[in-house]
Symmetry: none
Subunit: 200 residues, 2 copies
Amino acid sequence: MSLSFKQKRFLDFIRRHTLIHGQSPSYEEIMAGLGFGSLGTVNWYVRVLTERRHLYRTKGPNGKRALTLTEQEHATPATLPLLGLIAAGYPIEALENAESIDVPAPLVHPDNFVLKVKGDSMIEEQIEDGDYIIVRKNPTAKPGQIVVALINGEATLKYYYPTDTGVELHPRNPDYPVIHVHKSDDFSINGILLYSFREY
Amino acid sequence: MSLSFKQKRFLDFIRRHTLIHGQSPSYEEIMAGLGFGSLGTVNWYVRVLTERRHLYRTKGPNGKRALTLTEQEHATPATLPLLGLIAAGYPIEALENAESIDVPAPLVHPDNFVLKVKGDSMIEEQIEDGDYIIVRKNPTAKPGQIVVALINGEATLKYYYPTDTGVELHPRNPDYPVIHVHKSDDFSINGILLYSFREY
DNA sequence: ATACTTACGAGTAACTTACGAGTATTTGGA
DNA sequence: TCCAAATACTCGTAAGTTACTCGTAAGTAT
């Protein structure tokens, strides 16, 4: 879902023009400003960037000078870093170039981050390949919360229930077994599950 | 809902006139002040700006020198209205007091809205009770998009594939049957599925 | 009466969209 | 490693819409 260099340049031009002139540029102005030779080129950019929801018109289709950046409220970027890939039963796989993901503003918090679900290992939790989960980094949890836990290095997503003797991890789907964590296990809570989403 | 350059200029004129002269300008004064050749032009601005809620009359319609600015209110929150409840096989149930739901900023758009999923009827689509879906209102779709469709009044969430003879609706899960829509069916597309999420 | 506001009808310039076709650049395999 | 295919980008022009304009006449409140 990332943009090419030229596409970024295109969006930048609109942002700057809108800022400086108080209204969106017309196709002709964009054409001149970016050195294109044809309106068709401008239209091509508008079409693909609209489809990808980086642009929209404030006044419905064919509204004049109505091109607006979706990213406008990026002034306070409501994004969280995508820190890694998670698949049940495997270690969490870190991503180097922490890309940012748009999320609802109330979820923006320094301790929150996003993981992308890899594979269908969590299908029984109604979470499938390609979904995203938002996690609050926290080494502890309250009983009944869903946690991202690591058992002997393997990630899992389960309800957390501490007991006298150790910890029980319950699946969302009651058809699957409860996991009993023993003292001999290497157990840690990575964080608490706050939200999950899927883009279509 | 942004204004054109000329529309801003029109509002500015009213603001300044009201400030300086202590009363709103008459149509003639606006005409002279902005260099129009006709009252019709002034009236055109008043009409569209009133429709868009940037102007109103303090004394009801046809009140003289009563043009007043609706000074800009909103600090655009990144929310969408929750318009109803959806369950596969049932009509969409409208909610009266449209509450607002926080969503990622890029999804904020006048044509987008949120539906809450009721019951487990969409479980095979990996969408369960209590999930939310974000839909872009649109009466048509491109092949391959996931649509919220109504067949004989019943809602469903399916991949959309038009054919020569009608429309095919494919489920996300291939274990479930493809629906063939016939001409005799009352079929309409409510919108296009953009995003789904779940709070924990 | 006077001082305004509303209601047509119609025109034009400013823009946006649609279409058709061609050239670069990346990507996925054999 | 090299080709084929997809994707990204470019051009020109014509047609379609919208924002804005005019003029005039009829309506409404003091």
